[in-house]
């Protein structure tokens, strides 16, 4: 397919997906905007009201509730008994998660509160386990809003933004794309990890640019994998099937 055919075909696909908007869309928008001005009313009123309510709640708690300061006896503050120190959460064992392995693309959308604009990768770890090899991507401040995992034949990846191609060890590839993340603020480890493991042969940074991180994975055998999100600390785990 030539370049022109590709463009034309792509636009045909776009046309097929989108069609035309309803003829009443401009009227809908006009009407919605016309009825929206009330929402533009000064937000400071709501802000002040919220502030007053918060002050009342905090004040009430302060004088009669749990925020009341500890009583002073004979000039000595009675201090509460020390609460047990929470133990650091241990990293989960690398046991299989029970999720089935898949050999297809996957798009993972993190739910929950809106994340900060950029999530920092702090560690990349690999390890071999019975039946699978594991790549763990650890984050410091949340999870990326969107992570995509796609499989490909061969291990040739295009580095971005340079456009230079790189070929990893193994026969097939897995590309992990994390939007809204970076690999250089909190991470100082290697950006090309040759594991020597049976399934996951190599992990290499393909892109770390403008808030997008891409990791190329070179895999021996069929690129079947499963993914898991873990918390405390936040981690994205990719297990590559070896048997």
């Amino acid at each position: 397919m030539s370049n022109e055919e590709f463009r034309r075909e792509l636009n045909n696909v776009f046309d097929g997906v989108s069609g035309s908007p309803s003829s009443n869309l401009p009227d809908r928008v006009r009407s919605a905007v016309a009825h929206a001005p009330d929402a533009r009313a000064p937000y400071w009123i709501a802000g002040v009201a919220a502030g007053v309510i918060a002050a009342l709640v905090v004040g009430t708690l302060y004088f009669v509730g749990p925020l009341k300061p500890p009583s002073t006896v004979g000039g000595v503050h009675s201090t509460p008994s020390p609460s047990p120190i929470s133990q650091p959460t241990s990293l989960p064992s690398p046991s299989p998660s029970g999720e089935p392995f898949i050999c297809a693309d996957e798009s993972i959308h993190t739910q929950g509160t809106p994340p900060p604009p950029v999530i920092y990768v702090s560690a990349l770890r690999t390890g071999a386990h019975p039946g699978y090899d594991r790549l763990t991507i650890e984050f410091t401040n949340g999870t990326p809003a969107e992570t995509t995992v796609s499989v490909q034949a061969g291990t040739r990846f295009v580095m971005s933004p340079s456009g230079i191609t790189t070929t990893l060890k193994g026969q097939n590839g897995i590309l992990v794309v994390m939007h809204g993340s970076d690999l250089h603020t909190s991470y100082s480890g290697p950006i090309d990890i040759v594991t020597g493991d049976k399934g996951l042969a190599e992990v290499k940074r393909v892109e770390d640019f403008e808030g997008t991180v891409q990791l190329g994975l070179g895999v021996n055998g069929q690129a079947c994998y499963r993914t898991t999100w873990l918390a405390n600390p936040d981690r994205f785990v990719i297990d590559v099937q070896t048997s």
């Binding site: 792509l10 696909v13 989108s18 869309l25 739910q111 640019f209």
Partner: protein, 177 residues
């Protein structure tokens, strides 16, 4: 767009920024078709796309005072709001993990190529579809495309190329731009 309309736009923009809802609607009207197509491709749902455009228009109206620049800034500003609204609509609608079937077919016949292209497009994430729509479908100049994405022109170029390569892996950057 006629020359008369172009001349009127700065005044319409000024009145819209000053809080005139009718001027604001007139400012958006020429952009609604493109906004709808952008949302429709991102959401793959025509009805949801119209809802997203309507919601985006309301949000744009609520923060029209933040609009900076001249009349040429309106399109990337509004399209970026539409893209954000489409992302939010998608997140509201989607389950936390979407698994898509592998539709890779190594040796495709011409008819199947068309089908594959369609399926490959739908397999892209909204973030990957967005630069493709802006570049190939809405035909935005690179500078405007970058402003819509909120990135530098070099990064915008990279995103378009990267997404296009996911549809056809033998594309060169010269063929895309």
């Amino acid at each position: 767009m006629s020359a008369a309309l172009i001349e009127q736009r700065p005044q319409t923009l000024a009145r819209a920024v000053a809080g005139d809802a009718d001027s604001f609607s007139r400012l958006l009207e020429p952009l609604l078709g493109q906004a709808y197509r952008l949302a429709a491709v991102m959401l793959d749902d025509r009805s949801a796309a119209e809802d997203a455009v309507q919601e985006a228009a309301i949000k744009a109206w609520r923060k029209v005072e933040q609009l900076r620049g001249d009349a040429s800034s309106v399109r990337p500003w509004f399209l970026s709001i539409v893209a954000n609204e489409s992302r939010m609509a998608r997140r509201r609608r989607w389950f936390s993990v979407i698994k898509l079937a592998d539709v890779r077919t190594p040796a495709a016949e011409p008819d199947e190529v068309r089908s594959d292209l369609h399926q490959a497009l739908l397999r892209l994430t909204p973030e990957e579809r967005l630069p493709l729509v802006l570049h190939f479908y809405l035909d935005l100049p690179l500078e405007e495309l970058a402003r819509t994405l909120g990135v530098s022109p070099a990064a915008a170029k990279s995103r378009v190329y990267r997404a296009a390569r996911r549809l056809r892996d033998d594309l060169t950057i010269e063929e895309v731009f």
